[in-house]
Symmetry: C2
Subunit: 341 residues, 2 copies
DNA sequence: ATATTAGATGTAACTGATTACATCCGTTAG
DNA sequence: CTAACGGATGTAATCAGTTACATCTAATAT
């Protein structure tokens, strides 16, 4: 069923059919009704390709994301999806697994299919590749990272500030030995976290022993990392984990191996999740405005799409702040002082 | 940059360009090289719309899913995505939030855009609506449910059997009072679970007190449900939760309100997740082959797409079995008998 | 009564690919 | 020497829409 058949059946021309769909106010109400009736009866839906071919717009954006396991990413997806739907856009979903080859492939796909915009949550592609996409007329947002990336819009959470606050919190509780369990697959974020962490340490003026431990994301890896440190007696007195998965793994390992939290190990996480408040003790963590982040990113993207200005100059930025959720996993000042007696 | 310009620049006709892309073996190697060089130099990518318009295929499938929070769904998504990518298909992602209106809207979108197939994880649409999509030539798989749904392919996990095994396990441990905490938003699955549960109870021949509690999914709802039961002294001696989120909430509530697990409450979950083995005690749960499920669903879908036979008759089915992971949350036989002394 | 105008509708060009069919040309067979 | 053939390439129709421009009608202005 195509537009010409509908036109024939309704006894009008194809232009009228098209107008009924795109500029209904230009069509006489009775004609419009007749056409709509035929459409309904014939179960007609306009062909998206013919449409896209003419209009040059696909009303589609793509989302490149490294994984969907993390709560943060889920909420980013949800935020983007919500805004996209409200604007009538469809979303291509590409789980890149953080793999550059898959990103490349996905971005090719985006160009082929003339998506109207791309939101990168994962981005390992060289800057020039992204530039190329933009030169092809595709606005790109980078969600969640502030790395210079070739995108015209950046939208991220201030992890440096978050790490700074979390570290200050630990220092204010009297801790003098603080470890940082990083995620080696998130190099850029790790650098930010380290910066905030070391900044807070420096600023405190105290002599704090610090230690960076490289690790991988996820409960299991957190578990193994903690297990290793405990066995080697290298466990710091306080530990900031880069992700809630890791933190949960650490707390479990501590439990299993008889290390008391927070008495022997103060634990904090750079990201919050429902489980952080469920475990025992509940874990002090940074609550990320991930849903907001997704929505903000989508809005910025649609701004670029609609304004079509695509200046290749300085990218627009939007920075969201995480919120420190103090729970019980870091102990409290009183306790720390007792320990130091 | 379109095919004509490339043709002009390479000094050949459009047909040759098209052949280079679609049937390279039909083109003289030197011509081919020349064309490819121009393409690369001009950064040309074929227009997907023009292509789809001709071929009638979009190499795109859609995925309608009610949420991405559950581990099971994440793994389904991952499975589908993996197969889709390996076949060169793109995936439209529609988070329906289990909302029928959004499903309707999404399915309309699928028809408009001529997706080659739809995988429903969430499906509240009337059967006729799905049939309509199929009459429009779109194969539909229903992932995860076995409800008659108008789809041509069903692909699901046998929750009835799972509930049966879980219940038998509890009965074998000597439990005589077993509750079922359901998820009212998953009515069909609840019915399956109930069937398996009651089947096992009946088959045991023992006089078992049963109780169905309606509830909602998620950690918080599990917590509240347990809290309510504990306060009203209605907590059964053993409880099967419909989801791992609920179960985690229950275990937390038990902890907070001083109910010992498994000593005073035996707890099991119909779905497993990493957290189930992390909490204390680790929760006995059904491990769902969700990744396999996604992959199987995608394969069935591509089968339908490629064979284009779309018989509107009896749907093809694929049933996967969950696996019982016995952990510590249900206690053991010895202990139960002690209690009964 | 005629010119003007606005609103409704129609005609046909155009979007960018694919591909059936036509053409051209060099090779081989008769 | 010519016919037949087949490989490489070109021509033009086609897919299903959108829309600039043309046309027609009827109402209003002069």
């Amino acid at each position: 069923m195509n537009i010409r058949k509908v036109a024939e059946m309704a006894g009008v021309s194809v232009a009228t059919i098209s107008r009924v769909l795109n500029h209904p106010e230009q069509v006489l109400p009775e004609t419009r009704e007749r056409v709509l009736a035929v459409m309904k009866e014939q179960n007609y839906t306009p062909n998206w390709f013919a449409r896209g071919l003419n209009l040059g717009t696909t009303h589609t954006i793509a989302l490149l994301i490294p994984n969907i396991e993390s709560e943060t990413n889920q909420r980013i997806i949800s935020g983007i999806e919500t805004i996209a739907r409200s604007k009538g856009y469809a979303v291509f979903f590409c789980n890149t697994h953080g793999d550059q080859a898959i990103e490349e492939e996905s971005l090719d796909m985006c160009e082929n299919r003339r998506v109207d915009g791309v939101a990168f949550v994962s981005l390992n592609l060289p800057e020039e590749r992204v530039q190329q996409a933009r030169e092809n007329g595709i606005p790109c947002v980078h969600v969640g990272k502030n790395r210079s990336s070739g995108c015209d819009t950046l939208c991220y959470i201030d992890f440096e500030e978050g790490a700074y606050r979390l570290t200050r919190h630990l220092i204010s509780l009297g801790h003098e030995e603080i470890g940082l369990l990083l995620d080696s697959s998130e190099r850029h974020r790790s650098a930010q976290i380290e910066a905030g962490f070391l900044g807070a340490v420096r600023e405190s003026g105290k002599k704090i022993r610090t230690k960076q431990i490289s690790g991988e994301a996820g409960v299991q890896n957190g578990y193994f990392a903690a297990q290793r440190m405990i066995k080697r007696k290298e466990l710091p007195r306080a530990l900031i984990a880069a992700g809630d998965g890791q933190a949960l793994g650490v707390i479990k390992a501590a439990q299993d191996l008889g290390v008391a939290v927070p008495d022997e190990l103060a634990l904090a996480s750079m990201t919050d999740s429902p489980m952080c408040s469920i475990v025992n003790p509940p874990i002090t963590a940074l609550e990320l405005p991930a849903n907001k982040l997704g929505m903000a990113a989508a809005r910025l993207l649609f701004d670029s799409i609609e304004n079509k200005e695509l200046e290749l100059g300085v990218p627009q930025e939007m920075i969201l702040q995480p919120k420190l959720k103090i729970r019980k996993s870091c102990g409290n000042t009183k306790y720390i002082y007792e320990l130091f007696d």
